[in-house]
Symmetry: C2
Subunit: 284 residues, 2 copies
Protein backbone atom coordinates (compact mmCIF):
# COMPACT_ATOMS: atom_id res chain seq x y z
CA UNK A 1 0.00 0.00 0.00
CA UNK A 2 1.34 3.40 -0.92
CA UNK A 3 1.53 6.33 1.45
CA UNK A 4 -1.50 8.63 1.46
CA UNK A 5 -1.51 12.30 2.46
CA UNK A 6 -3.51 11.33 5.56
CA UNK A 7 -0.49 9.30 6.72
CA UNK A 8 1.58 12.45 7.22
CA UNK A 9 -0.31 14.04 10.13
CA UNK A 10 -0.61 10.50 11.50
CA UNK A 11 3.20 10.12 11.44
CA UNK A 12 3.40 13.33 13.45
CA UNK A 13 0.84 12.02 15.93
CA UNK A 14 2.74 8.78 16.26
CA UNK A 15 5.98 10.68 16.79
CA UNK A 16 4.38 12.63 19.64
CA UNK A 17 2.90 9.53 21.20
CA UNK A 18 6.08 7.49 20.91
CA UNK A 19 8.16 10.50 21.95
CA UNK A 20 6.17 10.72 25.19
CA UNK A 21 6.77 7.02 25.78
CA UNK A 22 10.49 7.27 24.99
CA UNK A 23 11.15 10.41 27.02
CA UNK A 24 9.74 12.59 29.79
CA UNK A 25 11.61 15.66 28.58
CA UNK A 26 9.47 18.14 26.65
CA UNK A 27 12.49 19.55 24.82
CA UNK A 28 13.54 16.10 23.67
CA UNK A 29 10.02 15.43 22.39
CA UNK A 30 9.91 18.80 20.63
CA UNK A 31 13.24 17.93 19.00
CA UNK A 32 11.71 14.64 17.80
CA UNK A 33 8.79 16.55 16.28
CA UNK A 34 11.19 19.04 14.67
CA UNK A 35 13.12 16.23 13.01
CA UNK A 36 9.99 14.37 11.89
CA UNK A 37 8.67 17.66 10.52
CA UNK A 38 11.82 18.06 8.43
CA UNK A 39 11.46 14.47 7.18
CA UNK A 40 8.04 15.17 5.62
CA UNK A 41 9.54 16.60 2.45
CA UNK A 42 11.52 13.43 1.84
CA UNK A 43 8.68 10.96 2.38
CA UNK A 44 8.28 9.07 -0.91
CA UNK A 45 4.52 8.76 -1.35
CA UNK A 46 5.01 5.65 -3.48
CA UNK A 47 6.70 3.85 -0.58
CA UNK A 48 4.67 1.92 1.94
CA UNK A 49 3.91 3.69 5.25
CA UNK A 50 5.98 1.28 7.40
CA UNK A 51 9.11 2.31 5.46
CA UNK A 52 8.63 5.86 6.65
CA UNK A 53 7.45 4.61 10.04
CA UNK A 54 10.79 2.85 10.46
CA UNK A 55 12.75 6.06 9.85
CA UNK A 56 10.53 7.95 12.30
CA UNK A 57 10.82 5.43 15.10
CA UNK A 58 14.58 5.15 14.50
CA UNK A 59 14.79 8.93 14.87
CA UNK A 60 12.81 8.72 18.11
CA UNK A 61 15.22 6.10 19.49
CA UNK A 62 18.22 8.12 18.33
CA UNK A 63 17.07 11.41 19.89
CA UNK A 64 15.71 9.91 23.10
CA UNK A 65 18.63 7.50 23.47
CA UNK A 66 16.07 4.75 24.09
CA UNK A 67 16.52 1.78 21.73
CA UNK A 68 13.32 0.01 22.89
CA UNK A 69 10.84 2.58 24.24
CA UNK A 70 7.95 0.10 24.25
CA UNK A 71 9.78 -2.56 26.27
CA UNK A 72 7.67 -2.14 29.42
CA UNK A 73 4.46 -1.74 27.45
CA UNK A 74 5.17 -4.91 25.49
CA UNK A 75 5.71 -6.81 28.75
CA UNK A 76 2.50 -5.39 30.22
CA UNK A 77 0.47 -6.22 27.11
CA UNK A 78 1.83 -9.77 26.97
CA UNK A 79 1.11 -10.36 30.66
CA UNK A 80 -2.39 -8.96 30.31
CA UNK A 81 -3.05 -11.20 27.34
CA UNK A 82 -1.65 -14.21 29.24
CA UNK A 83 -4.03 -13.53 32.10
CA UNK A 84 -6.93 -13.95 29.66
CA UNK A 85 -5.83 -17.43 28.58
CA UNK A 86 -8.11 -19.45 30.92
CA UNK A 87 -11.10 -17.48 29.66
CA UNK A 88 -10.03 -17.97 26.05
CA UNK A 89 -9.54 -21.71 26.51
CA UNK A 90 -13.04 -21.98 27.95
CA UNK A 91 -14.53 -20.10 25.01
CA UNK A 92 -12.65 -22.18 22.48
CA UNK A 93 -13.64 -25.46 24.18
CA UNK A 94 -17.29 -24.47 23.98
CA UNK A 95 -17.13 -23.20 20.39
CA UNK A 96 -18.52 -25.06 17.37
CA UNK A 97 -15.51 -24.21 15.24
CA UNK A 98 -12.27 -24.12 17.20
CA UNK A 99 -10.17 -22.94 14.25
CA UNK A 100 -12.49 -20.04 13.45
CA UNK A 101 -12.67 -19.01 17.08
CA UNK A 102 -8.89 -19.07 17.26
CA UNK A 103 -8.74 -16.89 14.13
CA UNK A 104 -11.13 -14.45 15.80
CA UNK A 105 -8.87 -14.37 18.88
CA UNK A 106 -5.82 -13.77 16.71
CA UNK A 107 -7.59 -10.81 15.09
CA UNK A 108 -8.80 -9.49 18.45
CA UNK A 109 -5.19 -9.49 19.60
CA UNK A 110 -4.41 -7.21 16.70
CA UNK A 111 -6.37 -4.47 18.45
CA UNK A 112 -3.43 -4.21 20.80
CA UNK A 113 -1.72 -1.77 18.47
CA UNK A 114 -0.11 1.23 20.05
CA UNK A 115 1.20 2.62 16.80
CA UNK A 116 -2.18 4.05 15.90
CA UNK A 117 -4.17 6.59 17.77
CA UNK A 118 -6.83 4.50 19.43
CA UNK A 119 -7.74 3.56 22.95
CA UNK A 120 -7.96 -0.15 23.49
CA UNK A 121 -9.31 -2.56 25.94
CA UNK A 122 -8.48 -6.18 25.35
CA UNK A 123 -11.63 -7.67 26.84
CA UNK A 124 -13.95 -5.32 25.00
CA UNK A 125 -12.06 -6.00 21.80
CA UNK A 126 -12.32 -9.74 22.35
CA UNK A 127 -16.06 -9.60 22.87
CA UNK A 128 -16.51 -7.44 19.81
CA UNK A 129 -14.38 -9.54 17.53
CA UNK A 130 -16.01 -12.77 18.71
CA UNK A 131 -19.42 -11.58 17.54
CA UNK A 132 -18.53 -9.16 14.71
CA UNK A 133 -19.25 -10.24 11.14
CA UNK A 134 -16.21 -10.46 8.87
CA UNK A 135 -16.20 -7.81 6.13
CA UNK A 136 -14.06 -10.19 4.04
CA UNK A 137 -14.24 -13.87 4.93
CA UNK A 138 -12.20 -16.22 2.77
CA UNK A 139 -12.42 -18.97 5.38
CA UNK A 140 -13.15 -21.80 2.96
CA UNK A 141 -10.10 -20.87 0.87
CA UNK A 142 -8.06 -20.73 4.06
CA UNK A 143 -9.12 -24.19 5.22
CA UNK A 144 -8.49 -25.63 1.77
CA UNK A 145 -4.99 -24.13 1.53
CA UNK A 146 -4.27 -25.31 5.04
CA UNK A 147 -5.29 -28.86 4.14
CA UNK A 148 -3.04 -28.81 1.07
CA UNK A 149 0.18 -27.84 2.85
CA UNK A 150 2.44 -29.16 5.56
CA UNK A 151 4.00 -25.91 6.60
CA UNK A 152 2.67 -22.47 7.40
CA UNK A 153 4.58 -19.20 7.42
CA UNK A 154 3.09 -17.00 10.12
CA UNK A 155 4.02 -13.28 10.18
CA UNK A 156 3.70 -11.96 13.73
CA UNK A 157 2.74 -8.42 14.51
CA UNK A 158 2.48 -6.98 18.01
CA UNK A 159 3.92 -8.65 21.10
CA UNK A 160 0.70 -8.92 23.13
CA UNK A 161 -1.13 -10.21 20.09
CA UNK A 162 1.27 -13.15 19.87
CA UNK A 163 -0.36 -14.71 22.95
CA UNK A 164 -3.42 -15.16 20.76
CA UNK A 165 -1.32 -16.24 17.79
CA UNK A 166 -0.08 -19.12 19.93
CA UNK A 167 -3.64 -20.40 20.27
CA UNK A 168 -4.16 -20.24 16.52
CA UNK A 169 -0.85 -22.01 15.88
CA UNK A 170 -1.94 -24.80 18.20
CA UNK A 171 -5.34 -25.12 16.49
CA UNK A 172 -3.71 -25.20 13.05
CA UNK A 173 -1.89 -28.29 14.25
CA UNK A 174 0.77 -28.26 11.51
CA UNK A 175 4.39 -27.08 11.52
CA UNK A 176 4.55 -23.31 11.68
CA UNK A 177 7.43 -20.91 11.10
CA UNK A 178 6.73 -17.81 13.13
CA UNK A 179 8.32 -14.61 11.82
CA UNK A 180 9.53 -11.86 14.15
CA UNK A 181 11.12 -8.45 13.58
CA UNK A 182 14.89 -8.12 13.68
CA UNK A 183 14.97 -5.16 16.05
CA UNK A 184 12.51 -3.50 18.45
CA UNK A 185 10.05 -1.33 16.54
CA UNK A 186 7.05 0.06 18.40
CA UNK A 187 5.42 -2.91 20.15
CA UNK A 188 6.16 -5.45 17.42
CA UNK A 189 7.32 -8.88 18.43
CA UNK A 190 11.04 -9.70 18.27
CA UNK A 191 12.85 -12.89 19.20
CA UNK A 192 12.95 -11.75 22.84
CA UNK A 193 9.19 -11.46 23.25
CA UNK A 194 8.61 -14.62 21.23
CA UNK A 195 10.83 -16.55 23.62
CA UNK A 196 9.22 -14.92 26.65
CA UNK A 197 5.89 -16.29 25.36
CA UNK A 198 7.35 -19.72 24.62
CA UNK A 199 6.56 -19.55 20.92
CA UNK A 200 9.86 -21.31 20.31
CA UNK A 201 8.31 -24.38 21.98
CA UNK A 202 5.53 -24.70 19.41
CA UNK A 203 6.99 -23.16 16.24
CA UNK A 204 10.23 -22.46 14.49
CA UNK A 205 11.09 -18.77 14.91
CA UNK A 206 12.86 -16.79 12.22
CA UNK A 207 13.54 -13.10 11.80
CA UNK A 208 12.41 -11.34 8.64
CA UNK A 209 15.32 -8.96 9.08
CA UNK A 210 12.84 -6.11 9.29
CA UNK A 211 13.35 -3.04 11.43
CA UNK A 212 10.15 -1.44 10.17
CA UNK A 213 6.68 -1.79 11.70
CA UNK A 214 5.62 -4.01 8.81
CA UNK A 215 7.12 -6.41 6.26
CA UNK A 216 8.69 -4.77 3.22
CA UNK A 217 9.91 -7.60 1.09
CA UNK A 218 12.89 -5.84 -0.52
CA UNK A 219 14.24 -5.00 2.93
CA UNK A 220 13.95 -8.54 4.31
CA UNK A 221 16.81 -11.02 4.76
CA UNK A 222 17.49 -13.81 2.26
CA UNK A 223 16.28 -16.63 4.49
CA UNK A 224 12.92 -14.98 4.92
CA UNK A 225 12.53 -13.95 1.28
CA UNK A 226 13.24 -17.52 0.13
CA UNK A 227 10.73 -18.89 2.61
CA UNK A 228 8.19 -16.22 1.69
CA UNK A 229 8.17 -16.97 -2.02
CA UNK A 230 8.18 -20.76 -1.56
CA UNK A 231 5.39 -20.92 1.03
CA UNK A 232 2.07 -22.46 0.04
CA UNK A 233 0.27 -20.53 2.73
CA UNK A 234 1.25 -17.39 4.62
CA UNK A 235 -0.70 -15.89 7.50
CA UNK A 236 -0.06 -12.15 7.74
CA UNK A 237 -1.20 -10.52 10.94
CA UNK A 238 -2.05 -6.87 11.35
CA UNK A 239 -1.99 -3.60 9.48
CA UNK A 240 1.78 -3.08 9.17
CA UNK A 241 2.29 -6.38 7.38
CA UNK A 242 -0.70 -5.63 5.15
CA UNK A 243 0.74 -2.22 4.24
CA UNK A 244 4.00 -3.80 3.20
CA UNK A 245 2.69 -6.91 1.45
CA UNK A 246 -0.64 -6.06 -0.17
CA UNK A 247 -0.38 -6.41 -3.92
CA UNK A 248 2.30 -9.11 -3.87
CA UNK A 249 1.08 -12.14 -5.74
CA UNK A 250 1.67 -14.94 -3.23
CA UNK A 251 -0.82 -17.00 -1.17
CA UNK A 252 -1.10 -14.66 1.81
CA UNK A 253 -4.12 -14.61 4.09
CA UNK A 254 -4.43 -11.24 5.79
CA UNK A 255 -5.94 -11.34 9.26
CA UNK A 256 -6.52 -7.93 10.74
CA UNK A 257 -8.87 -5.36 12.05
CA UNK A 258 -8.85 -2.22 9.88
CA UNK A 259 -8.36 0.34 12.64
CA UNK A 260 -6.77 2.95 10.37
CA UNK A 261 -9.18 4.79 7.99
CA UNK A 262 -6.61 4.83 5.18
CA UNK A 263 -6.03 1.07 5.37
CA UNK A 264 -9.79 0.43 5.60
CA UNK A 265 -10.25 2.49 2.44
CA UNK A 266 -7.42 0.63 0.71
CA UNK A 267 -9.01 -2.73 1.56
CA UNK A 268 -12.40 -1.26 0.65
CA UNK A 269 -14.12 -2.07 3.93
CA UNK A 270 -15.64 0.14 6.65
CA UNK A 271 -13.30 1.22 9.45
CA UNK A 272 -12.97 -1.31 12.31
CA UNK A 273 -13.91 -4.17 10.01
CA UNK A 274 -12.32 -7.55 10.65
CA UNK A 275 -11.02 -9.40 7.65
CA UNK A 276 -9.68 -12.80 6.71
CA UNK A 277 -8.65 -12.10 3.14
CA UNK A 278 -7.15 -14.37 0.55
CA UNK A 279 -4.71 -11.97 -1.12
CA UNK A 280 -3.84 -14.53 -3.81
CA UNK A 281 -7.44 -14.72 -4.99
CA UNK A 282 -7.65 -10.95 -5.13
CA UNK A 283 -4.44 -10.66 -7.12
CA UNK A 284 -5.36 -13.39 -9.63
CA UNK B 1 -2.36 30.15 26.20
CA UNK B 2 1.00 28.79 25.20
CA UNK B 3 1.53 26.17 22.52
CA UNK B 4 1.56 22.58 23.72
CA UNK B 5 3.30 19.66 22.02
CA UNK B 6 -0.15 18.28 21.14
CA UNK B 7 -0.70 21.36 18.96
CA UNK B 8 2.01 20.28 16.52
CA UNK B 9 0.36 17.16 15.05
CA UNK B 10 -2.87 19.18 15.12
CA UNK B 11 -1.25 21.90 12.97
CA UNK B 12 -0.32 19.18 10.50
CA UNK B 13 -3.88 17.85 10.52
CA UNK B 14 -5.24 21.34 9.97
CA UNK B 15 -2.80 21.88 7.12
CA UNK B 16 -4.04 18.72 5.42
CA UNK B 17 -7.68 19.61 5.96
CA UNK B 18 -7.30 23.19 4.79
CA UNK B 19 -5.01 22.09 1.97
CA UNK B 20 -7.74 19.80 0.68
CA UNK B 21 -10.19 22.70 0.82
CA UNK B 22 -7.78 25.10 -0.88
CA UNK B 23 -6.68 22.73 -3.63
CA UNK B 24 -7.61 19.54 -5.44
CA UNK B 25 -4.06 18.83 -6.48
CA UNK B 26 -2.33 16.15 -4.39
CA UNK B 27 1.13 17.55 -5.18
CA UNK B 28 0.12 21.01 -4.03
CA UNK B 29 -1.23 19.57 -0.78
CA UNK B 30 1.93 17.53 -0.27
CA UNK B 31 3.95 20.71 -0.82
CA UNK B 32 1.86 22.41 1.87
CA UNK B 33 2.59 19.55 4.28
CA UNK B 34 6.31 19.73 3.39
CA UNK B 35 6.42 23.43 4.22
CA UNK B 36 4.41 23.06 7.43
CA UNK B 37 6.71 20.19 8.40
CA UNK B 38 9.73 22.47 7.98
CA UNK B 39 8.03 25.16 10.08
CA UNK B 40 7.76 22.87 13.12
CA UNK B 41 11.31 23.61 14.25
CA UNK B 42 10.60 27.34 14.35
CA UNK B 43 7.33 27.17 16.29
CA UNK B 44 7.93 29.13 19.48
CA UNK B 45 6.20 27.08 22.17
CA UNK B 46 5.76 30.21 24.33
CA UNK B 47 3.64 31.81 21.59
CA UNK B 48 -0.08 31.23 21.40
CA UNK B 49 -1.30 28.60 18.92
CA UNK B 50 -3.15 31.13 16.67
CA UNK B 51 0.17 32.89 15.98
CA UNK B 52 1.48 29.70 14.43
CA UNK B 53 -1.93 28.99 12.92
CA UNK B 54 -1.70 32.28 11.04
CA UNK B 55 1.65 31.37 9.48
CA UNK B 56 0.34 27.95 8.48
CA UNK B 57 -2.84 29.24 6.86
CA UNK B 58 -0.86 31.99 5.12
CA UNK B 59 1.43 29.31 3.73
CA UNK B 60 -1.60 27.34 2.53
CA UNK B 61 -2.96 30.42 0.73
CA UNK B 62 0.46 31.18 -0.73
CA UNK B 63 1.08 27.67 -2.06
CA UNK B 64 -2.45 27.05 -3.28
CA UNK B 65 -2.83 30.58 -4.67
CA UNK B 66 -6.19 30.75 -2.90
CA UNK B 67 -6.46 33.79 -0.59
CA UNK B 68 -9.80 32.74 0.92
CA UNK B 69 -10.15 28.93 0.71
CA UNK B 70 -13.12 28.87 3.09
CA UNK B 71 -15.18 31.44 1.17
CA UNK B 72 -17.82 28.97 -0.05
CA UNK B 73 -17.89 27.11 3.25
CA UNK B 74 -18.41 30.38 5.16
CA UNK B 75 -21.33 31.24 2.88
CA UNK B 76 -22.83 27.78 3.31
CA UNK B 77 -22.44 27.88 7.09
CA UNK B 78 -24.00 31.35 7.32
CA UNK B 79 -26.94 30.36 5.14
CA UNK B 80 -27.49 27.18 7.13
CA UNK B 81 -27.46 29.15 10.36
CA UNK B 82 -29.86 31.74 8.88
CA UNK B 83 -32.28 28.94 7.97
CA UNK B 84 -32.46 28.03 11.65
CA UNK B 85 -33.52 31.52 12.74
CA UNK B 86 -37.32 30.92 12.87
CA UNK B 87 -36.71 27.88 15.12
CA UNK B 88 -34.33 29.86 17.32
CA UNK B 89 -36.78 32.74 17.67
CA UNK B 90 -39.48 30.33 18.76
CA UNK B 91 -37.20 28.75 21.37
CA UNK B 92 -36.13 32.12 22.70
CA UNK B 93 -39.72 33.40 22.90
CA UNK B 94 -40.71 30.40 24.97
CA UNK B 95 -37.66 30.50 27.24
CA UNK B 96 -37.69 31.72 30.87
CA UNK B 97 -34.44 33.61 30.43
CA UNK B 98 -34.03 35.13 26.97
CA UNK B 99 -30.48 36.39 27.63
CA UNK B 100 -29.24 33.03 28.85
CA UNK B 101 -30.86 31.21 25.94
CA UNK B 102 -29.20 33.67 23.56
CA UNK B 103 -25.84 32.99 25.24
CA UNK B 104 -26.42 29.28 24.78
CA UNK B 105 -27.16 29.87 21.08
CA UNK B 106 -24.02 31.94 20.73
CA UNK B 107 -21.98 29.11 22.22
CA UNK B 108 -23.72 26.50 20.06
CA UNK B 109 -22.70 28.54 17.04
CA UNK B 110 -19.13 28.13 18.16
CA UNK B 111 -19.36 24.45 17.29
CA UNK B 112 -19.20 25.54 13.66
CA UNK B 113 -15.45 25.48 13.76
CA UNK B 114 -13.71 23.91 10.81
CA UNK B 115 -10.23 24.62 12.11
CA UNK B 116 -10.39 21.65 14.43
CA UNK B 117 -10.79 18.06 13.56
CA UNK B 118 -14.41 17.41 14.42
CA UNK B 119 -17.57 16.61 12.58
CA UNK B 120 -20.38 18.98 13.30
CA UNK B 121 -24.06 19.22 12.88
CA UNK B 122 -25.62 22.53 13.79
CA UNK B 123 -28.97 21.18 14.96
CA UNK B 124 -27.45 18.47 17.11
CA UNK B 125 -25.07 21.02 18.58
CA UNK B 126 -27.92 23.40 19.30
CA UNK B 127 -29.93 20.75 21.12
CA UNK B 128 -26.90 19.70 23.13
CA UNK B 129 -25.86 23.18 24.14
CA UNK B 130 -29.42 24.15 25.08
CA UNK B 131 -29.57 21.43 27.70
CA UNK B 132 -25.90 20.97 28.65
CA UNK B 133 -24.78 22.22 32.07
CA UNK B 134 -22.11 24.91 32.00
CA UNK B 135 -18.74 23.72 33.35
CA UNK B 136 -18.00 27.36 34.26
CA UNK B 137 -20.99 29.64 34.68
CA UNK B 138 -20.21 33.23 35.72
CA UNK B 139 -23.64 34.38 34.61
CA UNK B 140 -24.35 36.58 37.64
CA UNK B 141 -21.05 38.42 37.12
CA UNK B 142 -21.91 38.79 33.48
CA UNK B 143 -25.34 40.29 34.14
CA UNK B 144 -23.88 42.63 36.75
CA UNK B 145 -21.11 43.88 34.44
CA UNK B 146 -23.64 44.28 31.66
CA UNK B 147 -25.86 46.42 33.91
CA UNK B 148 -22.91 48.64 34.86
CA UNK B 149 -21.84 49.55 31.36
CA UNK B 150 -23.25 51.27 28.27
CA UNK B 151 -21.04 49.63 25.68
CA UNK B 152 -19.96 46.11 24.95
CA UNK B 153 -16.96 44.98 22.94
CA UNK B 154 -17.87 41.74 21.20
CA UNK B 155 -15.11 39.64 19.62
CA UNK B 156 -16.53 37.58 16.78
CA UNK B 157 -15.20 34.21 15.83
CA UNK B 158 -16.51 32.07 12.96
CA UNK B 159 -18.74 33.40 10.21
CA UNK B 160 -21.68 31.02 10.67
CA UNK B 161 -21.53 31.56 14.40
CA UNK B 162 -22.17 35.27 13.91
CA UNK B 163 -25.79 34.54 12.98
CA UNK B 164 -26.22 33.46 16.59
CA UNK B 165 -24.12 36.36 17.87
CA UNK B 166 -26.67 38.69 16.28
CA UNK B 167 -29.38 37.23 18.49
CA UNK B 168 -27.27 37.74 21.58
CA UNK B 169 -26.44 41.30 20.56
CA UNK B 170 -30.15 42.01 20.21
CA UNK B 171 -30.93 40.50 23.62
CA UNK B 172 -28.13 42.48 25.26
CA UNK B 173 -29.97 45.59 24.07
CA UNK B 174 -27.03 47.97 24.53
CA UNK B 175 -24.57 49.44 22.04
CA UNK B 176 -22.17 46.80 20.83
CA UNK B 177 -18.92 47.10 18.90
CA UNK B 178 -18.48 43.88 16.94
CA UNK B 179 -14.90 42.94 16.14
CA UNK B 180 -13.95 41.13 12.92
CA UNK B 181 -10.68 39.82 11.50
CA UNK B 182 -8.74 41.98 9.06
CA UNK B 183 -8.22 39.29 6.44
CA UNK B 184 -9.77 35.91 5.67
CA UNK B 185 -8.39 33.27 8.01
CA UNK B 186 -10.04 29.83 8.07
CA UNK B 187 -13.77 30.44 8.51
CA UNK B 188 -13.40 33.49 10.78
CA UNK B 189 -15.66 36.45 10.24
CA UNK B 190 -14.33 39.48 8.34
CA UNK B 191 -16.10 42.71 7.39
CA UNK B 192 -17.49 40.98 4.27
CA UNK B 193 -19.35 38.27 6.15
CA UNK B 194 -20.43 40.69 8.87
CA UNK B 195 -22.05 42.90 6.23
CA UNK B 196 -23.61 39.90 4.51
CA UNK B 197 -25.28 39.08 7.82
CA UNK B 198 -26.34 42.69 8.42
CA UNK B 199 -24.39 43.00 11.65
CA UNK B 200 -23.58 46.57 10.61
CA UNK B 201 -27.30 47.33 11.07
CA UNK B 202 -27.27 46.44 14.77
CA UNK B 203 -23.67 47.08 15.87
CA UNK B 204 -20.61 49.11 15.06
CA UNK B 205 -18.10 46.91 13.26
CA UNK B 206 -14.36 47.31 13.69
CA UNK B 207 -11.42 45.20 12.61
CA UNK B 208 -8.93 44.03 15.20
CA UNK B 209 -6.29 44.08 12.47
CA UNK B 210 -5.78 40.38 13.06
CA UNK B 211 -4.85 37.94 10.35
CA UNK B 212 -4.58 35.05 12.79
CA UNK B 213 -7.36 32.66 13.81
CA UNK B 214 -7.57 34.34 17.23
CA UNK B 215 -6.86 37.67 18.88
CA UNK B 216 -3.23 38.31 19.80
CA UNK B 217 -3.16 41.69 21.42
CA UNK B 218 0.33 42.77 20.38
CA UNK B 219 -0.56 42.12 16.74
CA UNK B 220 -3.81 44.13 16.82
CA UNK B 221 -4.29 47.63 15.41
CA UNK B 222 -4.26 50.74 17.62
CA UNK B 223 -8.00 51.41 17.43
CA UNK B 224 -8.80 47.95 18.68
CA UNK B 225 -6.12 47.92 21.39
CA UNK B 226 -7.39 51.23 22.79
CA UNK B 227 -10.94 49.96 22.80
CA UNK B 228 -9.88 46.64 24.30
CA UNK B 229 -8.14 48.15 27.31
CA UNK B 230 -10.85 50.74 27.96
CA UNK B 231 -13.82 48.38 27.72
CA UNK B 232 -15.77 47.60 30.86
CA UNK B 233 -17.02 44.36 29.39
CA UNK B 234 -15.69 42.24 26.55
CA UNK B 235 -17.39 39.19 25.16
CA UNK B 236 -14.85 36.84 23.59
CA UNK B 237 -16.25 34.09 21.44
CA UNK B 238 -14.57 30.81 20.68
CA UNK B 239 -11.33 28.98 21.18
CA UNK B 240 -9.01 31.10 19.03
CA UNK B 241 -9.80 34.28 20.93
CA UNK B 242 -9.40 32.40 24.21
CA UNK B 243 -5.99 31.10 23.16
CA UNK B 244 -4.82 34.60 22.39
CA UNK B 245 -6.38 36.47 25.32
CA UNK B 246 -6.44 34.10 28.31
CA UNK B 247 -4.29 35.50 31.08
CA UNK B 248 -4.77 39.16 30.15
CA UNK B 249 -6.18 41.04 33.10
CA UNK B 250 -9.21 42.79 31.57
CA UNK B 251 -12.94 42.15 32.07
CA UNK B 252 -13.36 39.50 29.37
CA UNK B 253 -16.13 36.94 29.45
CA UNK B 254 -15.15 33.87 27.46
CA UNK B 255 -18.04 32.09 25.77
CA UNK B 256 -17.01 28.85 24.10
CA UNK B 257 -17.28 25.15 23.84
CA UNK B 258 -13.96 23.47 24.65
CA UNK B 259 -13.72 21.24 21.59
CA UNK B 260 -9.93 20.94 21.67
CA UNK B 261 -8.47 18.69 24.41
CA UNK B 262 -5.54 21.05 24.98
CA UNK B 263 -7.79 24.08 25.49
CA UNK B 264 -10.12 22.07 27.74
CA UNK B 265 -7.10 21.11 29.84
CA UNK B 266 -5.91 24.72 29.96
CA UNK B 267 -9.34 25.89 31.17
CA UNK B 268 -9.44 22.87 33.48
CA UNK B 269 -12.76 21.50 32.26
CA UNK B 270 -13.71 18.24 30.52
CA UNK B 271 -13.60 18.23 26.74
CA UNK B 272 -16.77 19.52 25.03
CA UNK B 273 -17.67 21.59 28.11
CA UNK B 274 -19.47 24.86 27.54
CA UNK B 275 -18.22 27.81 29.54
CA UNK B 276 -19.20 31.38 30.33
CA UNK B 277 -16.09 32.45 32.21
CA UNK B 278 -15.28 35.73 33.88
CA UNK B 279 -11.58 36.00 33.02
CA UNK B 280 -11.19 39.10 35.22
CA UNK B 281 -12.33 37.23 38.33
CA UNK B 282 -9.91 34.43 37.59
CA UNK B 283 -7.00 36.81 37.06
CA UNK B 284 -7.64 38.82 40.25
Amino acid sequence: MKTFLECIPCFMNQALKAGRIASNDENTIKQILNEVGKMVEDIPMENTPPETGMLIYQKISEISGNPDPYKKIKKKNMDEAISLLPMLEEIIDKSDDRLLTAIRFAIAGNVIDLGVNREFDIKTALNEVLTQDFAIFDYDDFKQKLAETDEILYLGDNSGEAVFDKILIREIGKPVTFVVKEKPIINDITINEAKYLGIDKIAKIISSGMEAPGTIINMCNDEFVKKFYSSKIIISKGQGNYEGLSGINVPIFFMLRAKCPVIAKDINVPIDSIILENNYKKEN
